[in-house]
Symmetry: C2
Subunit: 67 residues, 2 copies
């Protein structure tokens, strides 16, 4: 598998994880005040996934523009 394919696969995986994290944060917010002590941990996880996705997307864009 080429580096480009691998990068595309990574982005797709991260998009799926980001979708799940978004849903988890959304459900937490909806159910508040239930589980309010979990806010920071869930938010941090969500932030980390979106940061990783953002970086991978930028890598992919660099790759695409250099082909």
């Amino acid at each position: 598998m080429s580096g480009f394919d691998e990068l595309q696969r990574k982005v797709r995986k991260l998009q799926s994880r980001a979708g799940n994290a978004k849903m988890e944060l959304h459900d937490l917010a909806e159910d508040l005040p239930v589980n309010w002590t979990e806010i920071k941990a869930v938010a941090e996880k969500t932030f980390d996934v979106f940061a990783e996705l953002d970086a991978a997307k930028r890598d992919l864009a660099v790759f695409e523009s250099s082909r």
Copy 2:
């Protein structure tokens, strides 16, 4: 105004602020990935309000049980 009244008023105010913070976090989650860099700041604000509300409610409960 008695200490009890003041405490009741504080709890009501915090309940209103917590409701707003909950909505803000909910809207942020709904609109992701838009503003994903704001996740931690919004979550921290929400957490702080709910922590304050929780403490005030417990103060009120102590007050009520001692009357």
